[in-house]
Amino acid sequence: MTDGSPEPDQDAETRRVASLMSLGLLGTAPEERFDRITRAASELFQVPLAAVNLLDDQHLFAKSPQVVGATVWDRKSTFCDVTIREDELIVVPDATADERFSWKPDVAGGRGVRFYAGRPLRVDGQPVGTLCLYDTEPRELNEDDRARLDAMGAWAERELLDSRDVERAVQVQHALLPTHNPAAPFYAVAGFNLPLKGLGGDFYTWRLSPDGLDLTLADVMGKGLAAALMAATIRAAINSVPAAGPAQRLDATAETLRADLDATGIFATVFHARLDLTTGELVYSDAGHGLTLVIRADGSHERLSGSGLPLGLEFALGREDRQAVLAPGDTLVSFTDGLLDLYGGTHSALEAIASVIAAHREPQSILLAVQALVDAAAPDDDITVVAVYRPPV
């Protein structure tokens, strides 16, 4: 680029890759909704392999089917590279007789591919991937077959767009989590939600009030979009009901949402507290959450035991305020059962978690420790943690 400006086709490629990235699908795990398409295509066209592939500027990522160790390929070596560049249905009856393909490793080498058909998958008008067929025998694709492949491509495009809806919703959900620490520099306050993929029913929130720092951590029953919808509803109610103290706030939230919780059959466990920043006095109420620990400066710990049932599971048992004190050197940590289940989900799990917190203390350090755990264990549940650390004087 001697004149310092990108070439026009580089601009087009940048736009194409931007559309691809907006789907948030690169490097993601197998999904039945795509596997269903490739299975159906393989059967319909009687080919050994049908695939949904996504192509960035340098790589081909096989979204479906996924073979361990063979999901990412150098783009230039693949058939689909041509489909993306030409942006139209490509049918190759015999790859050995087509100079665009005869040199490709899959033809000349191992897999012995002879037939290929690739239908570009477009998002925002950009070809971001392909639905393609491979065979080890030469063959043709008649007009009816081409129409069928086109229709299946439209199906795959709808699934790609669904991914973006979810991706945007995930961004919104994360934007609703607080990031600043309003109690600095006297307390370190932080929260995190791992493994940061998909929608979920966990949330946390905090804000400064004239009486101190109001902290909330909640876990809504279930997973995915349904749980996320109720999480947003509960968050809004907790933040807006008038209340003199934590127990009153939880009762008022339960009352406000009673019909909604009844109608959906969903419940939520909540830890809600008010921390007096001058004295460290903590007033809290627990709606069936039960997963809050105070790790003392000397390394000992105590659980802030529950005092009420989850929101949505009212059996005429009231909630009450309880007290604790966060002294200099202490850490308050509240977490969801995703973390508990990493350690087996029983009483010994609480001990194990307490010792991890005691070894790290500072919220940022706790985050790194839990991140390492999550990476090692690949849990199937979200893990949400809020930690408040009061440094020694």
Partner: protein, 110 residues
């Protein structure tokens, strides 16, 4: 999730086998709804072979309890393992659904 029915004198025992999670939760509800539909009022859920319950499972369990009580009956649980017991304790629901040490014990007082 697999259920085994055992009709006893004064109650019916439902043995659930497998993880009580988002997949199994509706199945548990359906099994208990069917038992109530068939006229049973006292239902014991035998958790001997259920070593894991998540929040969806807990939701189903409470749903079963509500349906049974509305019908004038009750759901009780027996042979609960450590993880399930922990979920009940943490959520405070052990006060509503106290675990019994055996199926026979569950309705002894009734």
């Amino acid at each position: 999730m697999i259920f085994e029915l055992d009709e006893c004198v004064g109650y019916i025992a439902l043995a659930a086998k497998g993880r009580l999670n988002m997949v199994a939760a509706p199945e548990l509800r359906a099994a208990v709804d069917a038992a109530i539909g068939a006229g049973h009022r006292r239902i014991v859920l035998d958790f001997t072979h259920t070593d894991f319950m998540d929040s969806s499972g807990l939701g189903a369990l409470v749903g079963c309890l509500k349906v049974a009580r509305q019908a004038g009956g009750d759901v009780r649980i027996a042979n609960v393992g450590a993880q399930v017991r922990m979920v009940l304790e943490l959520t405070g629901l052990d006060r509503v659904l106290a675990p019994y040490s055996s199926v026979e014990e569950a309705f002894r007082d009734a």
